[in-house]
């Protein structure tokens, strides 16, 4: 099913781009903002579903290890190893088993969050497909008006109003998705922070060190993610054909048309992104993850 979702997102973008192109030729440029949005919302939810499955398997592996160790500890308890060493051993094993349980809980939460996020992305892709179909219908209608005795001016006006309403709807859905994914992110962060916070309050800073180590280990991925995000945003803004009015890239010239040629350049680049399935510039530099989970920079 997954392959089809990424595919559907791509098809929607193609359909939407065709419709927006037709509309702008017919004097209704209001279709372009959709293309920029659709370009941003190209997802591969399968990675999330695969991830959810893997995290559940991780949970099972950790449970298996914990049950094995618990059985061993019980066997030790019936030996006559009665001493300070024995008590130290029991304390140590209790802490060890508690840590394994912590990993189990986090693995399940992560699996649930990934599944939820994946489902939300699928919903977004389906929604975009509907929007693309609506765009195509509007384009077809204006085209019909252009080649028949119907009033083209009236058709343009109606189409513009229709697209503005549709875009409002799109933005509402987008902000819903944003909030949902943000909630997912909060849930994930909580699984790390809450526990580490409790431990640190008790004076055990080893968890805190692990968080720091984890953050450093993923450095290259953060750098790449940032670069990828910038490339994607700029491309989307180029496709929109106007200076962005909000967000990181807003400027005093918000809403003013971009210099001639830039939107076309962005369009060509976007086409290449879609054809190759990754960002033209940053796409080929995805950091490689080492077997221990850390990342290396592409030039290392």
């Amino acid at each position: 099913m997954e392959m089809n979702v990424g595919e559907l997102a791509r098809r929607s973008l193609e359909l939407g781009t065709g419709a927006a192109l037709t509309l702008s030729v017919l004097g209704v440029p209001a279709g372009w903002p959709f293309v920029g949005k659709m370009y941003v919302h190209q997802y591969h939810p399968q990675a999330f579903f695969d991830g959810a499955e893997t995290w559940l398997a991780v949970h099972d592996d950790v449970v298996a290890a914990r049950l094995n160790v618990e059985a061993l500890v019980d066997e030790v308890a019936v030996t006559s190893w009665r001493s300070e060493d024995d008590r130290a051993f029991q304390r140590r094993m209790d802490a060890y088993l508690a840590d394994l349980r912590g990993i189990e809980i986090r693995a399940v939460v992560t699996a649930i969050v990934l599944y939820t996020a994946g489902a939300a992305l699928v919903a977004m892709v389906l929604f975009q497909f509907l929007v693309a179909v609506a765009l195509a219908a509007v384009a077809l209608w204006v085209l019909t008006a252009a080649v028949t005795p119907l009033s083209l001016a009236g058709a343009r006006l109606l189409a513009r109003q229709c697209l503005v309403k549709l875009f409002e709807g799109y933005q509402a859905v987008e902000s819903l998705l944003h909030r949902l994914l943000h909630g997912c992110a909060a849930a994930l962060s909580a699984t790390v922070v809450v526990d580490v916070g409790v431990e640190a309050a008790r004076g055990d800073y080893s968890g805190l060190n692990d968080v720091a180590a984890a953050t450093f280990a993923q450095g290259p991925m953060l750098v790449w993610g940032m670069a990828n995000r910038i490339e994607r945003d700029l491309t989307a803004h180029g496709l929109g054909g106007r200076h962005p009015g909000s967000g990181l890239w807003s400027s005093s010239r918000a809403g003013a048309p971009l210099p001639n040629g830039l939107p076309q350049l962005a369009g060509g680049k976007a086409v290449n992104d879609i054809m190759t399935g990754s960002q033209t510039i940053t796409g080929r530099y995805v950091p490689v993850q080492a077997a221990d989970g850390s990342y290396t920079f592409p030039w290392e």
């Binding site: 990675a47 991830g51 893997t54 991780v58 051993f89 840590d99 968080v211 993923q218 221990d292």
Partner: protein, 105 residues
């Protein structure tokens, strides 16, 4: 005869060898943990999450993934340390037995 009071040197020897045997089974017991790191490294969630428009999800996921990998690695190291601890105390126990039997005679 309760477990508290081993009857003689022979039974103590049995308990020691049992402890040794338990220790030797510890690596096998935590073997499932070895699957965790490779399966997480094989995932492409990190890349996919960064290309989605909600940046916070990508950040949070990467943090969790890296954190749990560190945790799992640490638990595997712990197992080795626990084993070493058991070895040391079995040896101490044995030495104490020998020492006490010498003084007792």
């Amino acid at each position: 005869m309760g477990i508290d009071a081993p009857a003689g040197p022979h039974e103590v020897e049995i308990e020691r060898s049992r402890l040794r045997e338990i220790r030797s089974r510890l690596p096998e017991a935590v073997r499932p943990l070895d699957n965790v790191l490779p399966s997480l490294v094989a995932l492409t969630v990190a890349e996919s999450a960064f290309t989605s428009f909600t940046y916070s999800l990508a950040l949070a996921y990467n943090e969790v993934e890296a954190f749990i990998m560190t945790e799992v690695r640490r638990r595997v190291e712990d197992t080795v340390r626990i084993q070493d601890g058991m070895t040391a105390s079995i040896t101490t126990w044995q030495d104490a037995e020998h020492a006490s039997s010498v003084t007792w005679r």
